[in-house]
């Protein structure tokens, strides 16, 4: 099914998105954050907690204090010069050893050591990536739309069990929903966790636990099983690093989600998204962007163009961070009021529009949540319509609608019913994609063209005002966020002369080539 779109408008949208991304990237490249520096520590192999339970990457970055703008890499590498590992240095700092700036004559040696540690970490990330490719080759990739479900018990061992059950029931992608407050904590918790609220803490050990559980059932189900978590909130790049090391396959990783929906400071998020995306790009992780959320605060019928505009911006920022289109899972959602006449046509139009605008991106399609009630029978039938639109418009990643959405976190059987419905609809309706044609000039095509025009208008306004200003004015998701407001601003520092980050030095020269893959 094809749409007649004005190719001039599409080109204009891409150009405007690049224009918008430029100053954001310039800002990110002139600053660092506590999360970015903790990522350096993690990739250097620092893990664990001190006597008070503070993660050692936090201990190291806290020890930098006002020297944040110079970066952690040089002091840490210099402290390793005597033959210690970064982990041993971190333990010593936790025990009270100061983390000094290296003296001038130590700098070349520190620089060499830091580069070597970065190359070692990079090789480990690439090895996990190669392992994924090998396993996909061995077990095979499922047809699209991939069936994506969530588990959210709070207990990682129960999650692992439910992840396996979901895979056996037919899931292709399992996301472990995070404990609700995690995006607002400025550290990554440590170890396997068994208590959470509305979800389970994202920790490296938890990633490893569910990864192993899914790997265990791959031979049985005969397809590669993808694992998803959330590189969002105050620890975007750290979570990305944990995911890269544990072979996660997808990360929720939006450039604005934290700002708009978690009131995280815009400056902080724009820096953190850049580095987290660089890590995800390098690790072969598919990012999922969060435009679906826009429609939970603004009406779906009126705000479709904000989703499309944000898709263009998210894509531009992802490409600039070295993520190629096949790893950019742009998000959107089935969130128009189902009682609105013509709702299904409008959903179809937007889903098809986004499909046509980003043909190489693995689009992530989110189910109805806003207009869903405790009437589980109604929710189930909305889910069926959502599945129909998903397969007929060629969506790539379908986060399944669950009949008990808005009631509780999914029961085992809720998830099974959702998977059965999705498989049935996908098999029944897959040929529709190549069978239908929008009536030229008909309501569906007109709707898609209107949304595209509105999106281009909005992009034009944002390009003129600048991204920080657009966010301050509440142009996205009806939610104004001031540049100096929100959480985490104290963790942002301007990069000072002598700032060193061996990962940026290693990766930044490769970004353009990586993005064009």
């Amino acid at each position: 099914m094809k749409l007649e779109l004005d190719s001039g408008l599409v080109a204009e949208a891409r150009g405007l998105a690049d224009e918008i991304a430029g100053p954001v990237l310039e800002f990110a490249r002139a600053h660092t954050t506590v999360a970015i520096e903790r990522t350096v520590a993690r990739l250097f192999g620092v893990d664990g907690v001190d006597d008070l339970g503070v993660p050692l990457p936090n201990v190291l970055v806290d020890a930098l204090g006002p020297r944040l703008g110079k970066g952690l890499a040089m002091p840490l590498a210099a402290a390793c010069a005597a033959g210690r590992t970064p982990q041993q240095v971190a333990e010593a700092v936790a025990a009270g050893e100061p983390l000094d700036d290296p003296p001038e004559e130590m700098l070349p040696e520190a620089r060499r050591l830091a580069a070597a540690l970065a190359e070692e970490a990079d090789a480990a990330i690439l090895a996990r990536r190669a392992e994924r490719s090998r396993l996909i080759e061995q077990y095979g990739d499922p047809p699209t739309p991939w069936i994506y479900v969530i588990v959210a018990t709070g207990n990682i061992h129960e999650d692992a069990r439910q992840a396996q059950a979901a895979a056996r029931a037919g899931a292709d992608v399992v996301a472990v929903i995070r404990s609700t407050a995690q995006s607002l904590i400025d550290y990554v918790p440590y170890g396997e966790t068994t208590e959470g609220f509305g979800g389970t803490y994202a920790t490296q050990a938890n990633f490893r636990r569910v990864r192993a559980a899914l790997d265990e059932v791959m031979p049985e189900v005969g397809r590669y099983l993808r694992l998803t978590n959330y590189a969002s909130g105050l620890c975007m790049p750290e979570i990305a690093a944990c995911g890269a090391m544990e072979r996660l396959d997808m990360m929720l990783n939006d450039s604005m989600y934290g700002i708009l929906f978690r009131d995280i400071n815009p400056q902080r998020t724009f820096c953190d998204q850049y580095v987290s995306r660089m890590v995800n790009g390098r690790a072969g992780i598919i990012i999922n962007t969060g435009e679906d959320n826009y429609l939970t605060t603004a009406p779906g019928h009126e705000a479709g163009h904000t989703v499309v505009a944000s898709n263009f911006i998210n894509r531009a920022l992802a490409l600039a961070a070295g993520i190629p289109e096949p790893q950019i899972g742009l998000g959107h959602a089935f969130e128009i009021d189902p009682d609105r006449p013509g709702q299904l046509m409008e959903e179809w139009a937007i889903a098809l529009l986004i499909r046509e605008l980003f043909p190489r991106c693995p689009l992530k399609y989110m189910p109805p949540t806003k207009h869903v009630t405790g009437d589980i029978f109604r929710t189930q039938s909305l889910g069926t319509l959502f599945n129909l639109v998903g397969v007929a418009t060629g969506q790539h990643i379908q986060l399944l609608s669950i009949l008990t959405e808005a009631v509780h976190t999914p029961f085992l059987s809720d998830r099974m019913l959702a998977i059965q419905d999705a498989r049935r609809v996908f098999e029944a309706a897959r040929p529709l994609r190549d069978s239908l044609q929008a009536v030229p000039g008909g309501p569906l095509e007109q709707r898609a063209q209107l949304v595209l025009r509105q999106a281009v208008d909005l992009l034009g306004q944002v390009a003129e005002a600048g991204m920080f200003e657009a966010v301050e004015r509440g142009w996205f998701a009806d939610t104004p966020r001031p540049r100096d407001g929100g959480r985490g601003l104290e963790g942002v520092a301007q990069r000072e002369p002598g700032y060193a980050n061996p990962f940026l030095e290693l990766w930044e020269p490769t970004l353009a080539e990586a993005a064009s893959a």
């Binding site: 806003k370 009630t373 808005a406 509780h408």
Partner: protein, 251 residues
């Protein structure tokens, strides 16, 4: 009035529809296992109409059965708030006439709850389902603190803004965490001797008026509650309390 029983297709048939999962394999014993479970639970003449393996050692059932007992409507009091059906302009007029000042309402999703959808639906200008939110009411000063607001901050803001009512949303829940968080707010207000100063109202998909009152709230609004419904109840209650001299703070 005599007891009533659920209605399937004949008055008095007592038919109920059930689905559940038992942690046992979907093998030859599965049907009898499901039937016996329903008999043990007290249902009569159970029928299992669908059995499916939900995983290894997990069986999903759809069943019908007759209820063993009914319920006497005369013994039941309302679990939903009995709010007056007042329009937007009637509510404003009521506050203006009876209170003579704006009613101050402070709202938040508290503690671990990161979801603003509930509090926004009631408070945001646009409201929902065509029913304007509290921010649109000229005679209501509506302050929406958003999500993940610690109880301590909510109480502090309520004092600073001389609120008449505190509105709490709890959307996401797991293992009864919403009840613990709602209770924490009541405990905090009581410890600070502030409980009587505010209309304390909660809302969310898992809440009923009865349950809210058990937790120590003045009212609870369940799924489908509209802003005008909440506003009308608060305005009426506040006016009644002011008349009874129970609302010292802003009087």
């Amino acid at each position: 009035m005599p007891e009533i029983v659920p209605y399937g297709d004949t008055l008095g048939d007592g038919m109920v529809q059930l689905s559940f999962t038992l942690p046992a394999p979907a093998d030859a014993r599965a049907r009898e296992l499901g039937l016996q479970f329903l008999r043990n639970t007290g249902f009569l003449e159970p029928q299992i109409v669908h059995i499916a393996a939900a995983d290894r050692d997990m069986t999903f059932y759809v069943a019908y059965a007759r209820a063993a007992r009914g319920v006497d409507p005369d013994e039941i009091t309302a679990s939903e708030v009995e709010a007056p059906e007042l329009s937007f302009s009637q509510i404003n007029a009521l506050i203006e006439r009876e209170l003579g000042r704006r009613m101050v309402v402070i709202g938040a999703a508290i503690e671990s709850d990161a979801h603003t959808v509930g509090i926004d639906a009631i408070m945001n200008m646009k409201g929902f389902a065509g029913d304007y939110g509290l921010e649109r009411y000229p005679w209501i000063e509506a302050v929406n603190l958003g999500a993940q607001v610690p109880c301590e901050r909510l109480v502090r803001e309520a004092q600073e803004r001389r609120a008449d009512a505190i509105l709490v949303s709890q959307v996401v829940t797991q293992k009864q965490v919403h009840a613990r968080q709602l209770t924490k707010l009541v405990d905090l207000l009581e410890a600070e001797r502030l409980r009587d100063r505010y209309l304390l109202v909660c809302g969310g998909p898992r809440l009923s008026n009865t349950f809210a009152k058990e937790l120590g709230y003045d009212a609870g609004f369940g799924p489908g509650s509209r802003p005008s419904h909440v506003a009308a109840w608060m305005a009426r209650e506040l006016v009644a309390r002011a008349a009874a001299g129970e609302q010292p703070q802003n009087a």
